[in-house]
């Protein structure tokens, strides 16, 4: 019997991982909740285990996932991203059950998942940090510490919940008065949301770029980086478009950031694939933000420019192999852009379009085009999960070639049924600032016109709709 690996995820990333597992000549075991029963990842896997009606709670249920792995005879679990991927208790449960967790150790996840601990480890290793505090003292003492910090570093500052993440539990403070007003609210909200009222402060880097470095390490401590990514184009701290490399950096800057990332990973005794995130200030200085202890959505762009299959490498490392390449073997070339095609209405504050059925799905192909998706014509998008339908990643030798290819792909990408981010992206890549590579995290806020577009229903689809109606009614009621 073949070795089995369970994929503890859904959607496009489950398929991405299943493909790597099958390429390594292992069998892939999928899990699913009831709302995902029509999801394509079930069909692509070698077997699938139903774990409950969900929604989400069963994908998040450590016992059920471990049980599914044990029952199916899997020896390892790949967590993907989201769900249990950065939950140290899940990694530990795998370790306890004798299953291989494809990722770093539970200790590493725990240390790096706690922002305060992570900052302490990084500070000790001499990694540059945005000025910030540890957990503030309870009560009025904490407020006094906060006020002192504001006076020393100036405003704006960020007030963050220690247990928050993914853009949640963060508020921006512009003045001392606002700080006094917001501080108790932030604490009680953190208590309500995360059952932990710890908060800390960070100086705000105004209009920064978001630059991150893909790192990968084996158990012997061989740690290499796979270059940079620019993920500045975001909405409310959620990434929409990711680019590799961060091509506006000078070779010296790029080298400095990558080496810092490797040092950070080593300081945390990092194993397997991870991402070190930095804020890049307008003056060129960069600050450590966090380490994501998992596979990232945007790993595809790095794969495109390095030729290294990150997921395959992850599995091989977890199964006990050492890195087969050294830093000098990694030679990024060209440019790659990934766009997250979501079932959302950008003009309506990116409102999710779940519950709708995809009536037409026509995807582009050809040279330099990669698609990571899971939906198909006739698929009804479950309302209970995220809205990512497919990631379009394109490669090109130059930046402009890459943008040209992206435009061609978006023009030929037809998804009808739900509204999608496609027409918005079409607008975005025609923007002169984007084309010139001039963007930072404020890009969407400062480019309102990107939201002015018409939903693109092709003329022939409109006419076909009329033909269908004439057929259905037995006459053209608009001509009767």
């Amino acid at each position: 019997m073949k070795t089995k690996i369970l994929v503890a995820n859904r959607g496009e990333i489950a398929i991405r991982i299943i493909r790597a597992i099958q390429e390594l000549n292992y069998d892939a075991v999928a899990i699913y909740e009831t709302p995902d029963r029509d999801s394509r990842h079930i069909r692509i896997a070698n077997e699938a285990v139903w774990i409950g009606d969900g929604p989400r709670c069963d994908y998040l249920d450590i016992d059920k996932v471990i049980d599914a792995a044990l029952r199916s005879g899997a020896v390892a679990i790949h967590p993907g991203y989201g769900f249990l991927a950065e939950n140290p208790r899940f990694a530990r449960a795998c370790e306890d059950a004798g299953l291989i967790f494809i990722g770093p150790s539970s200790v590493t996840i725990e240390q790096l998942g706690n922002k305060v601990t992570a900052r302490r480890i990084m500070a000790e290793a001499g990694i540059p940090m945005v000025p910030g505090t540890g957990n503030l003292s309870p009560g009025d003492a904490g407020l006094q510490e906060a006020i002192a910090f504001g006076r020393e570093h100036g405003y704006p500052i960020m007030l963050k919940a220690t247990s928050g993440g993914g853009g949640r539990g963060i508020r921006r403070i512009e003045s001392e008065d606002e700080l006094a007003e917001q501080y108790p609210i932030a604490r009680s909200e953190a208590k309500a949301a995360f059952n932990d009222d710890s908060v800390y402060l960070e100086k705000v880097v105004v209009r920064p770029k978001h630059v991150e470095v893909q790192i990968i390490a084996d158990r012997k401590g061989n740690t290499v980086h796979l270059g940079t990514r620019d993920c500045s184009i975001q909405r409310r701290n959620q990434k929409l478009i990711e680019i590799a490399p961060a091509f506006h950096l000078s070779p010296e800057q790029s080298e400095a950031i990558c080496q810092t990332a490797v040092r950070a990973a080593k300081a945390a005794n990092y194993f397997n694939a991870g991402t070190v995130e930095f804020l890049l200030d307008a003056d060129g200085s960069f600050y450590f933000m966090e380490i994501n202890t998992r596979l990232q959505v945007e790993h595809t762009v790095t794969e495109m420019i390095t030729g290294i299959d990150i997921v395959r490498t992850q599995i091989k490392l977890a199964m006990g192999k050492d890195l087969l390449f050294r830093q000098e073997d990694v030679m990024p070339r060209g440019h790659a852009i990934e766009m997250r095609i979501n079932a959302e209405d950008p003009r309506n504050d990116f409102m999710p379009e779940g519950g709708k059925t995809i009536t037409v799905y026509r995807s582009p192909g050809g040279y330099g085009v990669r698609l990571d998706g899971f939906c198909y014509q006739g698929f009804t998008i479950p309302e209970v999960y995220d809205s990512l339908l497919v990631k379009l990643t394109v490669f090109g030798w130059s930046w402009h070639e890459t943008v040209d290819r992206l435009r061609r792909c978006l023009t030929n990408f037809v998804i009808t049924g739900p509204k999608t981010t496609i027409p918005f992206y079409m607008n975005l890549i025609n923007d002169p600032d984007f084309q010139a590579g001039e963007f930072d995290t404020s890009f969407l806020d400062t480019h309102d016109h990107l939201f002015e577009y018409e939903e693109q229903v092709s003329e022939v689809t409109k006419l076909a709709r009329l033909i269908a109606e004439i057929h259905y009614r037995g006459q053209n009621t608009y001509a009767a």
Binding site: K462, I470, H471, Y472, N476
Partner: protein, 635 residues
């Protein structure tokens, strides 16, 4: 022997016409479409015919106006302006002609002066010859159009509407011509508009001759219909007595109530030694060859009764109304009453109401009144709002005599004299606040309308908005041939449809299966450019399930006296005159219903406050459907 082409100055055109040794032909395809195909001939067919029609060398092509502007947006889903633009591309030399109902423009009742002028200005960008009439031959009703056409540098072709009877003498018509010339000056073409195809060839010959005697330099354009099968005879008489232009159309599509075939005119006149100037006979034949195979797709719109109707000389319905009246009779289940309506009641009503001209909107008033008189049994007992307006002289003065007092008494009640005195006289219509309408349309569309969209909206507000929304949803559907657009009974499984979109790109649609799901939805699969697409249709709402069991007339009237206003008959809600919270008094107009193109106001029989409005403008109402509620204060 000069061909007249688009772009010539009106004075140049008139100079050529006055020296003509022979006659010119107008291809009245618009009238053919309206009279024999309920106005449904699609732009697709006109575009197929365009190259041959251009080569044929007509004086003009009547391709817009009449009811066609409305039907273009209502039933053909084509922008009337875009239609002219696309035809112009293929027909650079041929003058385009319209039929304009004067103050009623392309509709059924008078428009404000500023709307008339704006509309004429926009259409005059495409239309070279303006045939304008008034159903009462009341010249002031046409004046605004005359002025705007002249300003735009286009050709005015005022009409004298023609009919028969003791009052319709040569002297009367010559007097009308004088009245027109007094207003327009000499640089016009005069149209004898014989919309019913009335009179004998001899009568038409006499009339043309009499006008020519009085005004030798006046260019006469004879327009007729072939309802009795004898229009070739009238055309012949008209030309022989001095008419310079005549109307006919393509023989592949000629029917019974519209124009006769062009080729027959040419052949007949050739034998009499008269030449059709500028005409390429081969191209006339080629036009019919190009479109003949399209005709079967229009069969559903051809008249319910086939054959010529020489009884038109009795009932006098115009060609354009023949098809629609037969359709109404067929749908309303009273085809068997048609002999009574057409041959007895209609002639009687005509005489009783003044023996003026049975043409839009007068023909609709005569027809509706005659139908109501026969079906209800109570003559003039159910007068339409338009009949009332007519009797009050709102359309214009009666040309020959006023209807007798008993009709007024029947229509308006015992104090009819007071009503006539207070409300009588020509309708004074205030200018519309066009900028306000533009803002309303902007709101309804969600974007700034073009000037052309505004013009369409000012004429048919709800239908125009529906059309704009149709295009948004279904695209530019005028590209579809009648074999698709007018298909009856659905397509065959596996049938392949090929068409070009408005950019010229070719598409192929293959019909796939249609399946009903457990939820009652229907899934229709089409292969569109080789990709399967699914179209889902929700189950149809059972009509009438939300309304109460059918109420009788008495019950509706009783409810109205309690402030519960119901639709008294089937029709569309044309307008709402009140708002929620508004105080109304007995006699105030509440809403206006429209049925069979006639508007009828619903008048409050109580005083109180409007507490709720249930119906929406544009909604189709069945008798007894709720419209609004008036709360009556307790005594």
């Amino acid at each position: 022997m000069t061909r007249i082409t688009q772009g010539m100055a009106p004075s140049e055109v008139l100079a050529i016409l006055r020296q003509a040794d022979g006659y010119y032909i107008t291809n009245t395809t618009r009238d053919m479409s309206q009279s024999d195909y309920k106005n449904r001939i699609l732009l697709h067919t006109d575009l197929l015919a365009a190259p041959a029609r251009e080569a044929a060398g007509y004086f003009s092509l009547e391709i817009t106006g009449g009811a066609s502007v409305h039907v273009d947006i209502l039933r053909k889903q084509v922008d009337p302006f875009l239609k002219l633009e696309l035809l112009r591309e293929k027909m650079p030399d041929t003058m385009f002609q319209t039929l304009c109902r004067g103050v009623n423009l392309f509709g059924y009742r008078p428009y404000p002066q500023n709307v008339i002028r704006l509309t004429v200005r926009e259409f005059a960008k495409y239309v070279d010859v303006w045939r304008t009439f008034d159903f009462m031959n009341h010249v002031p009703n046409m004046q605004a159009v005359f002025e705007e056409v002249a300003k735009a540098g286009k050709i005015n072709e005022p009409c004298i509407c023609f009919s028969t009877g003791p009052e319709h003498t040569n002297e009367y018509y010559i007097g009308k011509v004088r009245e027109i010339l007094d207003v327009t000056g000499d640089e016009i073409i005069l149209c004898i508009k014989n919309h019913g195809g009335l009179g004998t060839p001899r009568r038409i010959g006499e009339l043309v001759n009499a006008i020519k005697q009085a005004y030798p330099d006046l260019v006469i354009h004879y327009h007729g219909h072939n309802t009795d099968g004898n229009d070739i005879g009238r055309i012949t008489a008209a030309i022989e007595n001095g008419a310079t232009i005549v109307d006919a159309s393509d023989h592949a599509f000629t029917g019974f109530y519209g124009p006769p075939p062009i080729l027959t005119v040419i052949q007949t006149m050739k034998d009499l030694g008269k030449t059709a100037i500028g005409i390429d006979e081969e191209a006339v034949i080629a036009t019919s060859d190009a479109i003949r195979d399209q005709r079967p797709h229009y069969a559903q719109f051809e008249a319910q009764i086939k054959g010529f109707l020489p009884t038109v000389q009795i009932h006098k319905l115009p060609g354009g109304a023949m098809g629609s009246s037969l359709e109404q009779a067929s749908k309303g289940g009273f085809l068997d009453r048609m002999p009574d309506i057409l041959h007895k009641e209609l002639p009687r009503v005509q005489v009783e109401l003044g023996n003026w001209w049975s043409v839009t909107p007068g023909s609709q008033i005569l027809w509706t009144t005659a139908v109501s008189n026969v079906l209800e049994g109570d003559r003039y007992g159910n007068p339409s709002g338009d009949l009332k307006n007519l009797l009050l002289g709102k359309y214009g003065p009666f040309p020959f005599y006023r209807p007798e007092d008993w009709i007024y008494e029947k229509v308006f009640g015992s104090d009819w004299e007071k009503i006539l005195e207070e409300e009588g006289g020509i309708m004074e219509i205030e200018d519309m606040d066009i900028e306000k309408e533009r803002r309303t349309l902007t709101e309804r569309l969600g974007s700034e309308p073009t000037e052309q969209q505004l013009v369409l909206y000012l004429q048919h507000p709800n239908d125009a908005v529906d059309f704009f929304k149709f295009e948004e949803q279904f695209g530019r559907a005028y590209v579809l041939p009648p074999s698709i657009f007018l298909r009856q009974g659905g397509f065959q499984l596996g049938e392949t449809l090929v068409f070009r979109d408005d950019t010229g790109q070719e598409h192929i649609v293959e019909i796939g299966p249609a399946q009903q799901t457990d939820d009652g939805e229907t899934n229709v699969y089409l292969n569109v450019d080789h990709d399967q697409q699914l179209f889902v249709f929700e189950p149809e709402q059972q009509e009438g399930c939300a309304t109460v069991a059918q109420l009788s007339k008495e019950e509706i009237a009783k409810l109205a006296r309690q402030g519960d206003i119901r639709a008294p008959f089937a029709g569309n809600l044309y307008g709402i005159s009140v708002e929620v919270g508004q105080e109304v008094n007995e006699g105030d107009q509440l809403v206006v219903l429209e049925a069979m193109k006639m508007q009828t106001p619903v008048i409050s029989e109580v005083s109180g406050t409007v507490s709720e409005i249930h119906a929406k403008v544009g909604q189709a109402l069945q008798p007894g459907d709720r419209i609004l509620t008036i709360e009556i204060p307790e005594e």
